[in-house]
């Protein structure tokens, strides 16, 4: 009220007053101020503006001044203070501030109102000890907005606006050192300075000089001492923040009837509509809380160092026996001689010699290491137990497409791969039928099927032939080469090297193979049987003129040159083969390229003609292949030739004895030949094998067994070089010879089968078979020796049964007959698969190949069986010789008798003179009488005539 009225008036006076105070610094002035202050209301907390003047007050009066100021404060009028605020700012700081204040620090006068606003009342919020106060910049700005020019901070408005920090530091200038009650720092740097040096500033006010001197000299660490706790109001805050009970607690009691405790609760159905709000609907709604989309995602990746594990170990040296590392101790010859000379040595040898003689003599007398056990039980199980005597069906193969309703013409086991057997199949047609159905026959392929035990349904390989195959053979040294003889007389070669792996597959591997292939990449032909085309066929004009009935490879140790001379084959590879057909000849073929230039020429010509996928192993032979030797079997007497169906030569694959005997004969150059012979084509310089018999046993279509030399000789009459007449032949069989088999144990013993009979032959016995069976009631179709028992052979019959003959058991009939197939059997072939398994392949006319297992008793040779059989054969040969002898004897006897009778008759005739007429008549009469008598007797016996009625002859 009055304050506002006086405002302007008093402001001027006040200004003057202040100026005067600063300039004079008089005590009176102070006094006056004091008095003035006393007049004011003591309750006023305002700081007297006059206190500015006290800046220059001597220090001694400080305390006094303070107290006086305290007193003066209440006395000040608010209005006056406010008036004064504006005034000092303009002039006063220049002198006061210039002295001590750092840059950008200015004295500031804050009125009590301002102090209230900023909570920094003098001596309450800020004291001399704690003069610092931070005022938020925002508060100042707010304040300046509210009060505008009245605000104490107005003069520094721009600087505060520019101030970077949030809080502005003001320092309470208790002693009005700088002329105002506060100083303000208007930059951060200034603020730092003020905060750092409050001590120094204070020190300035106190004993400045002394302290500085002390500071310069010693820096003593004075440990802080605990001080009495001074309440600064914090306990009040704690008090306020803690929760206290301010009212009495409420008491609630809930009661329930005693009997209802634990009573069973019964729920019952109730209609929703009975009571209001009987049902509450809890419907689903979209909760906004969960509608927040995740926009950012914190993720972290950390890299770790690579780990390496390493190890090291020392080398391990293989320990060696020290004994072998040392040099053996030896005596020199002199020392040895000296030692031998010693008596000790002599005595020792003498003494010991007796024992040695004893031991050696024991060895000489009898073999103490003879094991009786092995040789025990001779003949015990020769044919004893019937249980294990039968051929057991092991497997059977038939292909519905290729082999059904065709006849099996030949069976061959693979020479090296176990469980692989090949069969050739042909149409069941006679020659005439074949011509009638020629169109159909030509269209159906002629095949050889190669079966494996791994797959009983599908053949492993199919060999395609130009015509039906009646005989074929694996090359013993390279089983991938197969030669076959066709119905049309041609010889065909196959090379299955590309498919050899397929045959080697073990049982069941077919299915496994499928799995190893990636899905989607299966070869559609993987399970399909590959068909192999023949790679060479012989020249048709030089081939047989009839179906090839038998074909065999020559054993690898020999070869036959064009002159039929057997020679050593240095390469030990089978390259030559023999074939026979009913066109009266046996042919020798060579698979080697004979003339290089010719081959090259044909190669050029036919390069384009060779179909793809056919190996060119025998390309040089294709269509130009000629036999190198032709053995014509002409009969000894005129009237046709022999028509061979089967043949057999003495040399056998794997039997090197011929080679050895040859070596002995020509020891000198044998080594040379052996070394030089390898990898060299036949050059004609090969060693001739002396020990080889050049004779061949041939069975013919007419049932004859012919023994002929294949080596051509110069004919006496014509001078032409041709095959000599057979040494001998015998018409033994009553049908075409079906088999001509050499015993695997005796290379001079043969078994022949033809028609209804079988016969055993021994080479060298020219008079006839050593054993000839009586005719069987069915036709025989094939025969084969047992590969392990010398005395056993198998004979197949057209009624579907197999006979097992055991020469040591009985020779007049088979030891065992077993029915194998419902149809006629065409071929049999026993084969020793493993040490403990012997199988016999039986092919019938219906195209089924039966594999039978041969029982133990039929495959295990009895001890000394070979010797026994050899003895038997020897006996038979002797018998044969005896028979021949008897024949000759009888023949001679007969001839003698005849001759005698003739002589007798001749003698009588000579003795008697020609009969006279009388004598002739007499003789006739006698004869007539005898006749009549005879007639009478006959009639009487018949009861036709009576005795009485006998007419007298001479009536």
């Amino acid at each position: 009220m009055s304050e506002s009225d006086n405002k302007e008036v008093s402001s001027e006076g006040n200004k003057e007053e202040t100026e005067k105070n600063v300039e004079d610094n008089t005590a009176e002035n102070k006094e006056a101020a004091q008095t003035e202050e006393k007049e004011k209301d003591s309750s006023q907390p305002e700081i007297d503006a006059n206190a500015n003047a006290e800046e220059e007050v001597p220090e001694g009066k400080k305390a006094e001044k303070k107290s006086s100021k305290m007193k003066a404060k209440p006395g000040k009028k608010e209005s006056r203070t406010k008036e004064e605020v504006v005034e000092p700012i303009g002039d006063i700081p220049e002198e006061a501030v210039a002295e001590v204040l750092p840059e950008n620090v200015f004295p500031l006068f804050m009125t009590s109102k301002t102090q209230e606003i900023y909570n920094c009342k003098c001596d309450e919020d800020v004291t001399e000890e704690n003069p610092f106060k931070f005022i938020p910049k925002s508060d100042i700005l707010e304040d300046m907005k509210m009060r505008a020019a009245v605000c104490d901070f107005h003069p520094f408005k721009q600087q505060i606006l520019d101030y970077p920090g949030d809080d502005v530091l003001i320092v309470y200038d208790y002693e009005f050192k700088h002329g105002q009650n506060f100083i303000v720092a208007l930059t951060e740097e200034a603020k730092e300075i003020l905060l750092k040096a409050p001590e120094a500033e204070e020190g300035e006010g106190g004993e400045d000089g002394e302290e500085e001197e002390e500071d310069d000299t010693v820096y003593m660490y004075i440990p802080p001492e605990p001080k009495d706790w001074v309440s600064l109001g914090s306990e009040k805050e704690i008090e306020e923040s803690s929760v206290k009970e301010t009212r009495r607690k409420l008491k609630v009691s809930v009661k329930r009837i005693r009997r209802e405790f634990g009573a069973p609760v019964q729920f019952s159905d109730r209609n929703v509509g009975d009571v209001k709000d009987g049902a509450i609907d809890c419907s689903s709604y979209d909760d906004q809380n969960f509608d927040i989309k995740r926009i950012e995602l914190d993720k972290a990746v950390q890299a770790i160092s690579e780990q390496v594990t390493e190890g090291t170990q020392t080398d391990w040296k293989y320990p060696r026996n020290a004994n072998t590392q040392t040099y053996p101790r030896e005596y020199t010859e002199d020392e040895q001689a000296a030692l031998v000379q010693t008596k000790q040595c002599g005595d020792f040898v003498q003494e010991v010699a007796f024992d040695f003689h004893l031991a050696l003599q024991q060895n000489e007398i009898m073999n103490v290491f003879y094991v009786d056990w092995i040789h025990l039980g001779d003949g015990d199980d020769a044919f004893g137990s019937k249980a294990d005597n039968h051929l057991k069906e092991y497997q059977s193969f038939t292909d519905l497409q290729f082999s059904k309703d065709k006849m099996i013409t030949c069976i061959q086991w693979h020479p090296t791969i176990k469980g692989v057997v090949a069969t050739s199949v042909a149409e069941k047609l006679s020659f005439d039928q074949r011509i009638d159905n020629a169109a159909k026959v030509i269209m159906t392929p002629s095949l050889i099927l190669i079966w494996s035990f791994a797959d009983p349904i599908h053949p492993q390989l199919i060999l395609e032939a130009p015509d039906d195959i009646f005989s074929f053979a694996f090359n013993p040294t390279d089983p991938n080469h197969i030669v076959g003889g066709c119905l049309n007389g041609q010889i065909v070669m196959w090379d299955i090297a590309a498919h050899a792996d397929r045959l080697k597959q073990q049982r069941g591997s077919n299915r496994n193979k499928k799995r190893t292939v990636l899905p989607g990449f299966e070869d559609p032909n993987a399970l399909k049987t590959p068909i192999v085309r023949y790679c060479a066929v012989s020249s048709i004009e030089h081939s047989h003129k009839a179906p090839v009935t038998d074909i065999q490879w020559l054993p690898d140790h020999m070869q036959i040159n064009k002159m039929g001379v057997p020679q050593e084959n240095g390469s030990l590879q089978c390259t030559q083969l023999l074939s026979c057909a009913t066109d009266h000849c046996v042919m020798l073929w060579d698979t080697k390229a004979s003339k290089m230039h010719q081959t090259a020429m044909y190669d050029e010509k036919r390069k384009s003609q060779q179909p793809s996928g056919v190996p060119d192993t025998f390309k040089h032979l294709d269509l130009t292949w000629k036999p190198i030797l032709r053995v014509t079997l002409s009969k000894s007497e005129p009237g046709g030739d022999h028509a061979p169906t089967k043949f057999s030569i003495q040399e056998r694959q794997g039997d090197r004895s011929a080679l050895m005997s040859g070596t002995e004969n020509r020891e000198g150059d044998s080594t040379q030949t052996m070394q030089g012979g390898f990898n060299k084509p036949s050059s004609g310089k090969e060693r001739t094998l002396q020990g080889v018999k050049t004779y061949v046993y041939v069975g013919t279509e007419d049932g004859e067994i012919v023994y002929a030399d294949w080596m051509p000789q110069k004919d006496q009459d014509t001078g032409k070089i041709q095959t000599p007449k057979p040494a001998y032949y015998h018409v033994t069989h009553d049908g075409p010879v079906q088999s001509m088999q050499r015993s695997p144990f005796f290379k001079d013993v043969l078994l022949s089968v033809g028609g209804w009979t079988l016969a055993l032959w021994k080479e060298g016995v020219s008079s006839g078979p050593i054993l000839e069976s009586s005719a069987c009631h069915v036709k025989l179709s094939c025969a084969a020796w047992s590969p392990t028992r010398p005395g056993v052979f198998f004979v197949a019959k057209v009624d579907g049964s197999v006979d097992v003959w055991d020469l040591l058991d009985k020779t007049h009939e088979p030891a065992l007959t077993q029915s194998v197939s419902p149809t006629a059997i065409m071929q049999i072939y026993p084969f020793q698969v493993t040490q403990k398994q012997q199988l016999i392949a039986v092919g019938d006319i219906a195209g089924t190949l039966h594999i039978l297992e041969i029982p133990w008793s039929l495959r295990q040779a009895t001890p000394n069986e070979t010797t026994s059989v050899a003895n038997y054969i020897e006996r038979e040969v002797k018998r044969r010789a005896f028979v021949v002898e008897r024949w000759n004897f009888r023949e001679r006897e007969k001839r003698e008798i005849e001759a005698e009778a003739k002589k007798k008759a001749g003698g009588m005739a000579a003795a008697m003179a020609p009969p006279t007429e009388e004598e002739k008549e007499l003789r006739l009469r006698q004869e007539y009488e005898a006749y009549l008598h005879e007639e009478h007797n006959f009639l009487r016996e018949l009861g036709i005539v009576q005795d009485e009625e006998i007419p007298l002859p001479a009536a």
């Binding site: 002599g346 040898v349 060895n363």
Partner: protein, 104 residues
């Protein structure tokens, strides 16, 4: 003396199947042989240790017993060896063998 030894050995050698004889001293060093050097050395060292072992075995079983003769029957041949009987000799250290290969 040497001639007698020669003759005795020759007689032993004359038996059917004998392929060679070796005389070895007590240390296993061959003194006399009819075989080639490497074979002799091998047989001598190996048979020597075997005989010593056999001998000690026999004597361990019964100290009053001794090995008289050793015959080794193998699949291919036979080896015979006779150690000298020390109780008969004055010098215990001397032990000799004759080895014979006997082809079966």
């Amino acid at each position: 003396m040497a001639a007698e030894v020669e003759e005795t050995l020759k007689r032993i050698q004359g038996h059917r199947g004998v392929t060679g004889t070796i005389v070895v001293n007590s240390e296993g060093i061959p003194i006399k042989t009819t075989l080639d050097n490497s074979t002799t050395v091998q047989y001598a060292s190996l048979i020597h240790s075997l005989t010593a072992k056999a001998r000690s075995t026999v004597r361990d079983i019964d100290p009053s017993n001794d090995l008289k003769f050793l015959r080794i029957r193998s699949r291919k041949n036979e080896i015979m060896c006779a150690p000298v009987r020390t109780d008969m000799k004055g010098n215990i250290n001397i032990l000799m063998h004759i080895l014979i290969l006997f082809l079966s």
